[in-house]
Symmetry: C3
Subunit: 221 residues, 3 copies
């Protein structure tokens, strides 16, 4: 479902579960991997990546449909994952190898930087077209990481951004052909791995205070 | 004074009162039109437009001069108009056919998107040159919709932005020749009319919580 | 250590103390100069500039090392300087003639606009590489003046921005060759000197409420 490897100073966390939706087993596996990563001592950085044509499609709507009474704690768990990445004591890079939709797009936004594949895949917040609003935590995360104009367009129109469009809109920082996405992300992460991880975590915690408060608050506000 | 028509799924609200300043009668007419629009069921979107060389020049300073004791409730009413647009349960597009100054510029900013005329007209926040500050609600609205750099320049220098400059600064999203401004705005609005209006309103309400709190709070802070 | 001259309507405050670090004597001299400037009546604007290859390198770490028990009030004094500039009742322009690092970079950000020298000097927030986090006030100042993407990159990577890179990232508004930095800053300041200073100060105070609250709060949060 996931695979955690170390490449020099860089932890590479591959999501390998099809659309990489956030089912409970997927979340548990990612949480365990981040527990391992967070114990790192010395230089370190994290890259997350999907496989095939998906980075992640976000919430597991099938599971949610069968567990409606667990909606709120489930959202809280997803929020906690975003908050965990925002405060992770090391630099982080998302290797967006394919579609990053909805909660999966927000997962990419919770990283320091994103490298996105050019020939295929979209960054998209389709909630408006699914008849869904954003939780206070999600709304705060998106607003904190994107420009006002980009956040507005992405959230109100549900636009599907190609890699080039996402870079022009400031959503991702680099683009690469399919075969180069992961290497470029690892290279970027390696270039940052010598930063003091504790300080990196503290700086982000200070920068994103309001977003973290929203993510750590009641999931539905 | 105003004219409300429906063009397919798009409501077109034309301001037709010269400089389209926010006198009490103008505000009452716009409020009534928005009441009608808000009752829409099914696909829908709103375009607002001025006539001739003015979109709107904002506060009615002549009326205010004659009603100084009504300054605070008057500002509250203008704030409520901005808040109403920010929370309107359907996509909104401003067709800026001419000057959008001061409160009229902020009215445009309260829409989802703006199409601005290229050959004539400015977007301008001239308050600094009028010896006026911004209310907390207005300041929050501007900051929430523009980049930090653009908001600072616009508010501190009172710069008059042409359509091309406004687009480069991220103030407007599209530009068009005079005859094309309204058609382009209607086309953009029509492309968004199928969005679930309730969800659109909820998403904006979540995105602009602090600005809405300021707009709904005491007008002078 | 510093020199305050008046050039037409423009006050030119030169820092002339090597790296222009914020030692107590330097801070006292700048505070005195700002006291003088703030008494201005009529048209006025302020330009600050360094000398040689330094605009300012920020905190005086040597002095701090010898006065560890004064760390918190010292930070409070630096915060107060930033807050003073943000609320100064006249337009302000930083002439960044050389390196603007750490607290010195933030000093530039506390001005309305910055002109930066093209052939030499960097804008840099190197805290992460010094093993230091940002105080709540500093973090809030940076976030309020830069785009989310630029603030993140600058704070997490400690990138050294040349003038051209700083302009592309929205950190500075103009660039100039060495000999032209100060004249360009004075020209820009002069063009704004007729603004009503009180109103300028009020507009900024309204725009930067949260940053000012953080700068005026407990220095370490």
């Amino acid at each position: 479902m996931i695979d955690l490897q170390r490449d020099g100073d860089v932890y590479v966390l591959r999501f390998d579960a099809g659309e990489n939706r956030f089912g409970p087993d997927f979340l548990a596996a990612v949480e365990d991997a981040l527990d391992t990563v967070a114990k790192n001592d010395g230089p370190g950085a994290l890259v997350t990546a999907g496989t095939g044509k998906f980075y992640s499609n976000g919430l597991d709507l099938d599971w949610l449909g069968a567990h409606r009474d667990e909606f709120e704690p489930y959202l809280g768990r997803v929020h906690a994952l975003y908050a965990r990445l925002l405060t992770l004591p090391m630099p982080t890079v998302a290797a967006v190898n394919g579609h990053a939709f909805a909660g999966g797009a927000m997962l990419a936004l919770a990283h320091d930087f994103t490298v996105m594949r050019t020939d295929r895949g979209y960054f998209c917040l389709p909630e408006v077209d699914l008849g869904m609003s954003f939780t206070p935590g999600m709304s705060a995360l998106i607003r904190a990481r994107l420009s006002a104009a980009t956040a507005h367009e992405a959230m109100i129109t549900g636009r599907r951004y190609t890699a080039d469009e996402a870079r022009a809109a400031g959503i991702v920082q680099r683009t690469a052909a399919e075969a180069d996405v992961l290497p470029a992300a690892v290279e970027l992460a390696a270039s940052l791995a010598a930063k003091n991880g504790t300080v990196v975590g503290e700086i982000r915690t200070g920068m994103y205070g309001p977003a973290l408060a929203a993510l750590n608050g009641p999931p539905l506000g």
